[in-house]
């Protein structure tokens, strides 16, 4: 078969995937207000972004939420993965199945079920409800990342540590934790990006007391084009890319 055909096809699809992103980045430096014609280079949209106090507050709120959701889900997810890996217990299949269902369910189904729960137990919608929701949808991803790491791991190492007289706690600290560390970092970064980018679930479980960035963007882009969104979008894209490159780098480096 000809070689250039598949290559051209791959290149074409990548161009289509990246074209809108490239346009967004270029237009974020566009001085023109209309947003369609090129009016020269300018930082003005970045400036107006950082001069908007509500926007800056939403940014901090989002960052804090993503930090805490990633940390909590990594803790619970890592412990769950260790338990799934090391112990036999009743309901193991059910536990795996439930995590799988959480990952596969359409976000909107998760969103309304959590909204129903929070309203019925009388939890005020805000930081806490967002945190609970975000940890829930990040959890399966962390478990999978850590499980993948553990499945390629030499079982004789913890046995050897125990034979050499290490207590369970010492063994976990000196053998298991170092082994799963890259997966913990990768899982944390994944959770962080997932939380930062979520729109669907947050739309339902956030309240006026805690405004976060994706919702602020949502209300801006629903009504026409806003050049500030180009700048904000560019910053978010760069941020996610750095996070992703870091997590991939950690994972590949640890494999070598």
């Amino acid at each position: 078969m000809t070689r250039w055909l598949p290559r051209t096809y791959l290149t074409l699809v990548y161009l289509l995937l990246y074209a809108p992103i490239a346009v967004l980045v270029v237009f974020s430096f566009n001085d023109s207000r209309t947003g369609y014609e090129w009016g020269g280079l300018s930082w003005r949209w970045y400036e107006s972004l950082f001069n908007n106090r509500a926007m800056v507050e939403a940014m901090w709120n989002s960052l804090w939420l993503a930090l805490s959701a990633a940390t909590v889900s990594t803790l619970i997810g890592a412990l769950t993965a260790l338990a799934l890996h090391r112990y036999r217990f009743r309901g193991k299949k059910a536990l795996n199945g439930m995590l799988f269902v959480v990952m596969m369910s359409p976000e909107i189904v998760l969103a309304i079920s959590l909204l129903a729960l929070f309203l019925l137990v009388g939890l005020q919608l805000g930081y806490v409800s967002l945190l609970l929701a975000h940890v829930t949808f990040c959890l399966p991803f962390v478990v999978i990342t850590v499980m993948a790491r553990l499945s390629g791991f030499d079982e004789r190492l913890p046995e050897a540590a125990r034979d050499l007289g290490a207590s369970d706690f010492t063994m976990t600290r000196t053998v298991l934790i170092p082994v799963i560390m890259p997966a913990l970092l990768a899982g944390w970064l994944l959770g962080f990006t997932l939380s930062l980018d979520d729109v669907v679930v947050s739309t339902f479980v956030s309240g006026p007391s805690y405004e976060i960035l994706p919702l602020r963007i949502y209300s801006m882009v629903r009504v026409g084009l806003k050049p500030e969104v180009n700048a904000l979008g560019t910053l978010l894209l760069m941020f996610s890319m750095v996070m992703l490159i870091m997590s991939q780098w950690i994972l590949t480096r640890s494999k070598q």
């Binding site: 189904v109 079920s113 980018d197 882009v221 084009l225 979008g233």
Partner: protein
């Protein structure tokens, strides 16, 4: 065997994760099932008596139309993703290993980045005086700008743009597992390219196709912000209906019933996926 320290640790972890899942996954889902068979109540959202009214309301022509239209757009999205993704995954699996890693990474980058922002970027391209129209005008291919935004096509383009990687990744994994010797055996037995494709490649990649369909079709019915940004008020998704019922109309039973229909579709697709995987396992053994 089991040291004394291990058991409390095990118990604590299991209580924590089970507690989390029961409280934040199982209970909420049961609540939704419950809400779908209760009566709407302006004060407490839902109240007795039990009724199937919400499900009956789903069959109301007005909503049935929205559902069918949403299903149609989701099916088109899935089809387009499959048509683009199938050859893409195939071509990707033929690239040298080292470059595959980089290419997959490039595929995942946009999909971990903010989907709202990417939808908005598409709006920049598709607007009446946007880039695509300007390019076509200056090339002399059209005389007047095309109305691309606020159409059914724009919603489908948006959904394809957001969901394509979800189709490609499972397809890539089945193509990656496809053994060259099976293809060679098929050729040796006298099958042409077409026969090999229909009788060997398609059945072996079917689990990947179904996994991709599952990962695209369901979100394609739920991503309410895509029609909000690109589609105008006439091209709604099931997700928009659910959102309106829960956040604006405050009709929980109806919103819950709509969401249960989505969940049942998911269950059906997962079942079909399992079945196809098992069949291939039997044939391979």
């Amino acid at each position: 065997m089991r040291s004394a320290m291990r058991q409390p640790f095990k118990t604590a972890v299991l209580v924590l994760v089970w507690g989390w899942l029961l409280f934040l996954v199982l209970t909420p889902n049961l609540l939704v099932v419950g809400a779908s068979v209760l009566t709407r109540d302006p004060g407490t959202f839902i109240s007795l008596p039990l009724t199937l009214d919400a499900y009956r309301q789903l069959l109301n022509p007005l909503y049935l139309d929205v559902f069918l239209h949403s299903l149609y757009m989701a099916a088109m999205t899935t089809l387009v993703c499959l048509l683009i993704g199938y050859p893409f995954a195939w071509a990707l699996s033929k690239v040298p290993r080292q470059r595959q890693v980089l290419l997959i990474f490039l595929l995942i980058v946009p999909f971990w980045t903010n989907s709202l922002v990417r939808t908005y970027a598409l709006k920049l391209m598709l607007a009446t005086n946007g880039l695509l129209n300007n390019a076509l005008l200056s090339l002399g291919l059209i005389d007047q700008p095309l109305q691309l935004l606020y159409t059914e096509g724009a919603v489908i383009i948006g959904l394809v743009y957001l969901l394509l990687p979800f189709m490609i990744l499972p397809l890539y994994s089945v193509f990656d597992d496809l053994r060259e010797d099976l293809l060679r055996a098929s050729h040796d037995l006298g099958a042409g390219h077409l026969a090999t494709f229909v009788h060997v490649i398609v059945p072996l990649t079917l689990p990947g196709v179904l996994a991709g369909v599952m990962l695209v079709l369901l979100p394609a019915m739920g991503l309410f912000f895509v029609p909000d940004i690109l589609g105008g008020s006439r091209n709604l998704l099931v997700g928009n209906v659910i959102k309106n019922q829960f956040l604006d109309a405050r009709n929980w039973p109806f919103g819950a019933a709509a969401s249960i229909v989505l969940t049942l579709t998911m269950a059906f697709l997962m079942f079909a996926h399992r079945l196809s995987k098992r069949r291939i396992g039997e044939e391979g053994a």
